[in-house]
């Protein structure tokens, strides 16, 4: 893929040929292959795909949180504001983490340390990168809690995580992520574990915060609906590869990859699980299954000659619209 | 066949645990074939060869009766197995029933668990000491006493596990389909507890050896005439310098066997349902 965006000044994140592998007793299995994506300041990039497609691992790789997992970066570069994160020392990397770049996770229930008050956890994030007095940090924490619309922040700041609802906890997570005034916010399934009504509130909050701060947001979700509402640009991943990427409007109007179609058709009822997607037959193949050619072909209704042998290349359908398919869909009438 | 495959899966890549398993198999074989393998009668004494160091005739030397330590060690393996299995059976049956029933019938359970609390408040060895003085020294009593000691912890563990399972869908389903209490407890809940029970059993087996040895040491365990590793140590403790082989061999046998059983238990624990993994303390 040739990179479409060359304006270095607002190019925030630029991944080139990122390949991740997991070490198993049977050898190293690739989980993300040759992934190239970029994100500009102020932009919201959605990454969508079924669980196991490698989207979360990609986000962890960007954050530098792969340590402790069996997953390693095998190849590629991740440029963040012009610096290749993969070449930084751990210390330099940590100076960016939680500061210029921060992340919120899927499980607000477990992503906060249960034994510390939420205020202290936010203060910890603030003071890690900005030397200031506890009192000042506490004021800043209150400010952040107000920003994420926690009701009665002064009363809540000394609560323990278990005393808050799921939505409130996710707000606390967001407050914590904002502690360092990040340029890039990675949100990995931030609403999956929440009630539908709360989901909308949280998404709305993220969008507003993005508008206010001008940060870039990478929103990861299995739910095309969530992505559609919030993102400027969307990348669809399947089994470790981007299969289609386009502007949000562009994608929905003119999708080319059968998998994207499948995802769209199966936008689930709010409370339904990913696994129950009915529009796509079959299941996501497990990692140790070797599939030659297009990884989607066993489930693809359009699969034809060559699909089971040749990996399709990323083809441009428009200047900002690419897809990876031998038999792409025709534009809708 | 499936059992062997399962074992293969559990022990794959764990060479230490595998070595432990092999040692335990060896101990079991020694226990079974002791009368065939033992070069001497373990009770036959000969004052003329007393306290002789290890040699070709007496691999592990002889004790102060002039009895062959190697033969006694082989028969000691028998006692180790009897004590281990016996305690496991007593602990699992008594403790398991108490725990499961308590979790299932909550009101009765409240009473039972209080009794368990009272028993747990007695430090294990003290309880065993008092009971052993009260009863008399015999293999059966030792097994019962050690079993009771571990029955209390087993009851606690099973209580928790059964509670967890009780809330599960399949139990509701069984209840709806009109299954009786006994059927639910033993046909639906129990099968789910078999593997954690096995793990618990392996740790009880290991600790029972140490408890029995401690009781033997305090002179309140197996009858002194029974050749057990603990008795061999207990009788020979004054010979620590005079006849060091009398302490080294049985000591090493106990340590190796307990160590092996712990390794095996550890390997088993890693293979069970993670929900129950933390319930079983073990080593």
């Amino acid at each position: 893929m040739t990179r479409p965006n060359t304006d270095a000044s607002d190019l925030l994140l630029d991944m080139r040929g990122l390949t991740l592998g997991v070490a198993t007793p049977d050898g190293i299995l690739p989980v993300v292959q040759d992934l190239s994506l970029s994100l500009s300041t102020g932009e919201t990039l959605g990454i969508v795909g079924e669980s196991g497609c490698g989207k979360s691992l990609t986000s962890l790789a960007i954050m530098g949180l792969l340590e402790g997992t069996p997953v390693r970066v095998l190849a590629g570069e991740i440029f963040f504001r012009g610096r290749d994160l993969l070449r930084l020392s751990p210390r330099e990397r940590r100076a960016i983490m939680g500061n210029e770049m921060s992340m919120i996770f899927q499980e607000p229930m477990t992503s906060l340390n249960p034994v510390y008050r939420i205020g202290d956890q936010i203060i910890e994030a603030i003071r890690e990168h900005r030397p200031m007095s506890r009192r000042a940090a506490r004021d800043r924490a209150l400010e952040l809690l107000t920003m994420v619309r926690i009701p009665d922040p002064a009363g809540r700041i000394d609560s323990f995580p278990h005393q808050l609802s799921g939505g409130q906890r996710q707000r606390v997570m967001i407050a914590m992520a904002l502690a360092g005034s990040p340029r890039l916010l990675i949100a990995d399934e931030p609403t999956t574990a929440l009630d539908v009504t709360v989901q909308a509130q949280i998404l709305k909050l993220i969008v507003e915060l993005q508008k206010d701060t001008g940060m870039g947001v990478m929103l990861i979700s299995h739910d095309l609906g969530v992505i559609a509402e919030t993102c400027d640009r969307i990348a669809v991943m399947y089994r470790g590869r981007v299969v289609e990427t386009a502007g949000a409007r562009e994608l929905f109007q003119d999708m080319r990859h059968p998998y994207t179609r499948g995802l769209l058709d199966s936008i689930p009822e709010a409370d339904e699980d990913v696994d129950r997607l009915s529009a796509i037959p079959g299941r996501v193949p497990t990692l140790d299954e070797t599939i030659t050619g297009c990884a989607f072909h066993p489930r693809c209704a359009r699969a034809g000659a060559g699909c089971d042998s040749d990996q399709p290349a990323l083809t441009a359908f428009a200047p900002t619209h690419f897809a990876r398919c031998h038999y792409p869909l025709e534009p809708d009438a | 066949m499936t059992a062997i495959l399962t074992m293969g899966r559990i022990f794959r890549g764990r060479w230490l645990a595998t070595a432990g398993l092999c040692w335990l198999i060896l101990v079991a074989l020694a226990a079974i074939f002791a009368p065939l393998v033992a070069p001497y009668d373990p009770l036959e004494f000969d004052p003329l060869v007393r306290l002789s160091p290890p040699s070709q005739e007496h691999l592990f030397g002889t004790d102060h009766f002039g009895r062959d330590s190697f033969s006694r060690s082989l028969y000691g393996a028998r006692m180790a197995i009897v004590i281990g299995f016996g305690s496991v059976v007593v602990a699992l049956v008594a403790g398991g029933l108490a725990g499961m029933i308590s979790a299932y019938f909550t009101r009765l359970g409240h009473v039972i668990m209080r009794i368990v609390d009272v028993l747990m408040a007695f430090p294990a060895l003290l309880l065993a000491l008092v009971l052993m003085t009260l009863l008399e020294r015999s293999v059966v009593n030792t097994v019962i006493v050690i079993g009771i000691v571990y029955a209390t912890t087993t009851a606690r563990i099973l209580f928790g596990m059964t509670l967890k399972l009780k809330g599960e869908v399949f139990v509701d389903a069984a209840t709806c389909s009109g299954a009786g209490h006994a059927s639910i407890l033993f046909r639906h809940i129990l099968p789910n507890l078999v593997s954690p029970l096995l793990v618990q059993a392996s740790f009880i087996f290991a600790f029972a050896q140490l408890q029995a040895a401690a009781l033997d040491f305090l002179g309140l365990g197996l009858p002194p005439e029974v050749p057990s590793w603990g008795n061999m140590l207990s009788e020979s403790r004054i010979y620590v310098t005079r006849a060091s082989w009398l302490l080294l061999f049985p000591g090493a046998l106990i340590i190796l066997s307990v160590f092996s059983m712990n390794l095996v238990g550890d390997a088993l624990r890693d293979s069970i349902d993670p929900r129950f993994r933390n319930d079983i303390k073990g080593v």
């Binding site: - | 004494f45 004052p47 007393r50 306290l51 102060h64 009766f65 002039g66 003085t133 008399e136 020294r137 002179g219 309140l220 009858p223 002194p224 005439e225 009788e235 403790r237 004054i238 010979y239 620590v240 310098t241 005079r242 006849a243």
Partner: protein
């Protein structure tokens, strides 16, 4: 502020003590005992350990010299009147109790009365005593029903014996041992403290009035060289040995025979043999069960046993045991071989024959033994095997000691039990002579001989009668002696004045380090 100083002091003291720990120990003898003694009240308690401690504190009218003859201790002299029916004892003057009062005849009378009524061995003498009274400030008169030979030996044997307490302590004292605060005697050491589980400590009695004469056995002058004697219970025998080797104790008692050679050879350890041997006894039930009055069956059992292998197994080095059938050791005035040819036959065939003649049909014979004393148990194992080979059906019942002594009081619970006996200077003190001792040997033959034995005051006649009694023991087999065991203790070589051997109980007057 106070607290800070306080801790400083403690810390300084800690350093001082750790540096001066040897100095602290110099004036104290540290004695590792087999366990906690029961009460130290000598009247009612017969534990040897209790006496080992208490005879530094309590004294009787008499004691024994090195040849086990009674010599005066608190007594000064005595005379017999009325053909030996009246004993007049003159007391030493100027003897002070540990509480500061003078010892007078009132104290002696009170003590002897309580001992006579409640004491363990008191009835042996007092069943013959008509009256006891103070016939002067320092004179006591005993009137006997008939002449009684062993009176002086009984008064000299302090174990379960007539220690002299102040009359005030004796007031109201019964069978229950007197409490430690009343441990008031006349000995060279007085009671210091008893920290249960930790130690019993005696401290030097500065106003001690020593008898005169060269030290000889327990007789003669006594001088307390140590500031304190500390008796520390160390029940684990291995710990006693290693503790002495490591310098934590100066003296440790009852060491296993098998360690003798190594310890004897070690320059860091002195071994001290006990002069008077102890001996194991297997009592046979004369009151109930298959052995009751079946003397032939008893002899069959006796014939089956060979005592030597048991001694080899249970004791070890030959230096420490004798397969001796005489109840009194070789060299002792009471030594006699009468009847002893049946001591250790070890003839299974003959025994089987005898048993058959006695009508034995394989009824189970209950043999009680305790594991608290390894030599009891080891010996019993060997005997059981020998008896089984002779066709006896032995039901070996292993108990702890407390259970055994309870059970042996119940005649229906046992047929044989194992115990051991300490050295005693007069055969009258041997437990089998006591008709109420479990076993209950009260045959008419025994009673008659025993009466003659105690009535006689003539040493030669008494020796002859004892020979007949011993022969009767081998004939009626109320008990079986297992052989003499010379136990030994170990000491730091720094201790001076211990002598070659212990008479009965170790003593630490005239001993220093």
């Amino acid at each position: 502020m106070f607290r800070r100083t306080h801790w400083k002091t403690v810390f300084a003291a800690a350093i001082a003590t750790s540096m001066a720990s040897t100095a602290f120990a110099a004036g104290t003898l540290r004695y590792a005992t087999v366990g906690e003694p029961p009460s130290l009240d000598q009247h009612v308690v017969t534990s040897d350990l209790s006496t080992t401690i208490a005879h530094h504190m309590f004294e009787g009218l008499y004691t024994f010299d090195a040849s086990n003859s009674p010599v005066p201790l608190l007594a000064e002299s005595d005379r017999l009147e009325d053909d030996g029916r009246t004993i007049v004892i003159t007391l030493r003057q100027g003897v002070t109790f540990h509480n500061g009062t003078d010892m007078t005849s009132a104290d002696v009378v009170a003590s002897l009365k309580r001992w006579g009524e409640f004491g363990s061995r008191g009835s042996l003498l007092f069943s013959n005593v008509d009256s006891i009274e103070a016939t002067g400030d320092h004179e006591v008169t005993l009137r006997l029903k008939q002449p009684f030979g062993p009176w002086k030996n009984l008064l000299a044997f302090i174990n379960g014996g007539p220690a002299i307490y102040p009359a005030s302590v004796m007031e109201g004292a019964g069978k229950e041992p007197i409490a430690p605060e009343n441990y008031i005697g006349t000995g060279p050491y007085r009671f210091g403290e008893w920290q249960p589980n930790r130690h019993v400590e005696l401290v030097r009695f500065d106003d001690y009035d020593s008898p005169e004469g060269e030290p000889n056995g327990y007789g003669g002058a006594r001088k307390a060289e140590f500031d304190a004697l500390r008796f520390i219970p160390v029940p684990d025998v291995g710990t006693r040995v290693s503790g002495l080797q490591a310098g934590d104790y100066d003296y440790a008692e009852t060491i296993p025979g098998d360690l003798f050679d190594a310890l004897d050879a070690s320059p860091d350890v002195t071994t001290i043999l006990n002069g008077g041997p102890i001996f194991g006894l297997v009592f046979l039930n004369s009151k109930e069960g298959p052995l009751k009055e079946n003397f032939a069956l008893r002899r069959a059992i006796q014939t089956a046993i060979n005592k030597t292998p048991a001694l080899q197994v249970a004791i070890g080095p030959e230096k420490l045991w004798r397969a001796n059938g005489s109840f009194m050791p070789q060299g002792n005035v009471w030594y006699t071989e009468s009847g002893a040819e049946n001591f250790s036959k070890g003839d299974a065939a003959a025994a089987r024959e005898l048993a058959k003649e006695a009508g034995y049909n394989g009824e189970p014979i209950k043999f009680m033994v305790s594991t608290n004393y390894p030599f009891h148990y080891d010996t019993a194992i060997v005997y059981t095997k020998q008896l089984a080979q002779a066709g006896f059906n032995i039901d070996l019942q292993v108990y702890d000691w407390a259970t055994l002594i309870k059970k042996r009081g119940e005649p229906d619970q046992w047929d044989l039990f194992f115990t051991h006996h300490g050295f005693v200077p007069d055969p009258i003190l041997i437990s089998v002579m006591n008709p109420t001792y479990p076993g209950w040997w009260t045959t008419p033959e025994k009673t008659e001989l025993a009466e003659k034995f105690t009535a006689s005051a003539d040493p030669a006649e008494r020796q002859k009668l004892w020979g007949e009694l011993q022969a009767l023991i081998y004939e009626q087999v109320p008990t079986m002696k297992t052989g003499d065991v010379y136990t030994y203790n170990i000491a730091s070589p720094e201790l001076k004045g211990l002598g070659e051997a212990t008479l009965i109980w170790p003593h630490f007057w005239n001993v220093s380090k």
